[in-house]
Amino acid sequence: MTIDELTQTTGEWLRGEGASSDVVLSSRIRLARNLADHPFLSSACESDRTEIYRHLLDQIGQAEPSAHDIIFDMNEIDPIDREILVERHLISRQHAGGEGARGVTVTPSETRALMINEEDHLRIQGLRSGLQLEDIWEDVSAVDDAISSRVAFAFDRQLGYLTACPTNVGTGIRVSVMLHLPGLKYANEIERMARAARDMRLAVRGLHGEGTDAVGDLYQISNQTTLGKSEATIIETFSHQIIPKIVDYERQARHTLAKRRTAKLDDKIWRAFGLLANARRMSGEETQTLLSPIRMGIHLGRFDRFGIDKLNELFLFSQPAHLQKLHGQAVDGEERAILRADFLRKRLGTA
């Protein structure tokens, strides 16, 4: 399977299915693992890196043959294809922009991606749309076991899994949930939510992870503590306490908006549609900002021009790398804005 085949679909995280998918876009679990008998990457020389890469790729293939369906060697694919993988949430931006021997294996369903030689030797990631943390954990943990029966991971009885950065030591787990919170945003309640989350030692970030703003009212909530709490405890807290509470607040905020400020809400939704369907130049950020009220409008039954599948398709393919892939060649920012507006009008039937 190639990147071109991958881009025939909208992938997993924008499938629009799973529990609470009106608010929860996607769930993700990542485990950080390192080989016991090799230096961490920041101290590894090029030959170490190559050896780690080959060894892990080989062992993953034997432990989990299905993981070998798609392998992307970061040094063999071109920059746009690396960006495609970032936009599909299969690899981190850091991995795309890194150096040396590194790669990723992806399942055709895009529900699992194993990054080799990112910050740690191995990062096992599971990804699903909606709130599906338990299912992801079952899958990720099974893959972890299969690989760890073949290779010795760096592990210490007291400290657990040893990671390149001490902030990940212990379980090495990062649970994160992507939420769409336009209701809380308009009600000015985001800061309160973020403060409550931080009191629980959770990180709140924008769509693209660390160091990004919350474009399109998308927020990512993840755990920061990895030592002293079991994976099951962390997942349980997310699935049954934190996320349902936020989902509840968000739904209430949306219904209040729909009930008390109907005209204003409808105006916001339909104006956004008007712009998307008619603009001649459109930035990626503006597209995501405009798709936000429409996404909410669809779930509230106040927008009927198209459904959530189409919205997710517009969302994914209006991103720079996907747009260039559709176009068949690389184009710069200004030209891309025109290309994006053309793409949107075509898909919305107004071209």
Binding site: S42, Q158, P166
Partner: protein, 161 residues
């Protein structure tokens, strides 16, 4: 005229908030105070930056002087880049690392959760290989072939266990 921050009354207020709950009120704060109040999240600071800031602020710089792991990483280098050199670093730099680990993990000092499928013995054996391979490289670099041969034998015997 620019408004001064209501809290520190020093910096220019750049964050303006209108609270509606519990009552309607306006607040004008500078970015720093707003962040401290939990009103805004500084989104451009990554975990690594926060970590490095913490390392610089809180750790006793003098205490780490001269401490080096068998992989070659000094505590100073760790302070500069926030990344450890090898799994053994957790042991060799342990006393210096523990305050940081505790602080990063809400005071926790012990792992709770999964353990690898492979046994502890395997892990210990593999960890020993890191050290031995480095020794082998050193011996070769120094053209000490007698030493290199004996280290190679040690590696072989560990690998065949």
């Amino acid at each position: 005229m620019s408004i001064l921050c209501q809290i520190c009354k020093d910096a220019k207020a750049t964050v303006h908030i209108t609270d509606t709950i519990p009552e309607k009120r306006e607040r004008h704060l500078c970015e720093e105070c707003a962040e401290r109040e939990g009103v805004i999240i500084k989104s451009h600071q990554t975990t690594n930056e926060i970590l490095q800031q913490f390392i610089k602020q809180k750790m006793n710089l003098a205490a780490g002087e001269g401490v080096e792991c068998s992989c070659g990483l000094t505590f100073r280098e760790f302070q500069a880049r926030g990344q450890l050199g090898c799994p053994e670093c957790y042991r060799t730099l342990g006393p210096l690392l523990m305050p940081l680990i505790e602080r990063a993990h809400e005071g926790a000092t012990h792992h709770v959760g999964k353990v690898p499928v492979t046994t502890d013995d395997t892990v210990r054996r593999q960890a020993g290989l890191v050290r031995l391979r480095r020794e082998l490289q050193d011996a070769i670099d120094q053209e000490n072939y007698e030493r290199a041969a004996s280290v190679r034998d040690e590696i072989r015997s560990l690998e065949s266990q």
